[in-house]
C-alpha cells in the first residue's frame, strides 16, 4: 500500500520504505539512545535508569545491568541496520524498542507527563514527538 513507512512481507521480513530524510531522522534518534546509555551526563540517562522496585533503596544490580546491556544492544543493532531495505523480526523489534525508549525519554526530560502538558508544549518538540509516534504506529502494525 503506498504511503506506508513499514510493511510486513509474505516472507516475514519487514520492508523499510523510509526515504533518506526519514532514515536520517531515525538515525539521530537511535544515536541519542546509544549515547544516553553510555554517558551518565546525557540528558536522557536518568530516564533510561528508572527504578525497578521503587520501594527498595537499590535495585538488583544484575537487573539494572541487564537493562543497560539490552537497551544498548537494541540501539546498536538498530544503527547497524539503518540502511537495510528489509529487516528481520529481531532487527525490527530492536527498532521499535529503541524508538519507544527515545519517545518516552523525550517526554520525561521535557516534563510531558500529562495530555495537557503535551498539547501545550513547544511546536518543534511536539513535531518531533508526532514524528516518532508515526514511526512507532506504523512499525507496530507489522507485529
Amino acid at each position: 500500500m503506498p504511503g506506508k513507512l513499514f510493511a510486513r512481507r509474505r516472507d516475514g521480513r519487514i520492508e523499510v520504505r523510509l526515504n533518506d530524510a526519514g532514515r536520517g531522522a531515525i538515525r539521530e534518534v537511535f544515536a541519542h539512545v546509544l549515547a544516553a546509555e553510555r554517558d551518565p551526563e546525557h540528558e536522557w540517562h536518568l530516564s533510561l535508569n528508572a527504578p525497578i522496585n521503587p520501594s527498595s533503596d537499590d535495585d538488583d544490580p544484575l537487573a539494572s545491568l541487564t537493562r543497560q546491556n539490552e537497551i544498548a544492544s537494541n540501539a546498536e543493532l538498530s544503527i547497524m541496520t539503518l540502511k537495510e531495505q528489509y529487516l528481520n523480526d529481531t532487527e525490527a523489534w530492536a527498532w521499535l524498542s529503541t524508538l519507544q525508549v527515545a519517545l518516552r525519554s523525550t517526554a520525561v526530560v521535557n516534563g510531558l507527563l500529562s495530555d495537557e502538558k503535551l498539547e501545550t508544549c513547544a511546536p518543534e518538540l511536539l513535531d518531533d514527538i508526532r514524528t516518532m509516534q508515526q514511526f512507532l504506529f506504523e512499525l507496530a502494525a507489522c507485529f
Partner: protein, 98 residues
C-alpha cells in the same frame, strides 16, 4: 519404559504450598501521554504472549486507570518482566501485592 513425568513427593507439595501462601509480586505498567496504544498492545503480546484481547484490555486499563497489573508471581520473574518492559520503552515497576 521410563516415566515421562515426575511424581509429586511430600516435599514438593510442601514447597508449592509455601510458594502459594507468599504474597506475589506485581508488575505494574504506568500510563504516559505519548506512547501509542497499538505499541503497548504489541509489547504486551511480545513479552507475555497474551491474546490480543487480553493485551487490549490491559492497555485500556493502563490508559483509563493510570496503571495496570500485567503479571503477578515470583519476585525474580516479576523483575525480569519489568526489565523487559523497560527495555521496550514502557514505564514499569514491581511491587509486592498488598
Amino acid at each position: 519404559m521410563q516415566p515421562l513425568r515426575f511424581s509429586s513427593t511430600e516435599s514438593d507439595v510442601e514447597s508449592e504450598v509455601a510458594v502459594i501462601t507468599e504474597r506475589p509480586w506485581n508488575v505494574i505498567v504506568w500510563n504516559d501521554p505519548v506512547t501509542p496504544m497499538t505499541v503497548v498492545v504489541v509489547i504486551f503480546k511480545r513479552i507475555f504472549g497474551y491474546s490480543n484481547n487480553k493485551c487490549t484490555d490491559l492497555m485500556l486499563t493502563v490508559h483509563h486507570e493510570g496503571r495496570a497489573v500485567v503479571w503477578s508471581g515470583q519476585r525474580e520473574r516479576a523483575e525480569s518482566y519489568c526489565v523487559k518492559l523497560q527495555v521496550a520503552g514502557l514505564q514499569a515497576t514491581v511491587e509486592r501485592d498488598a
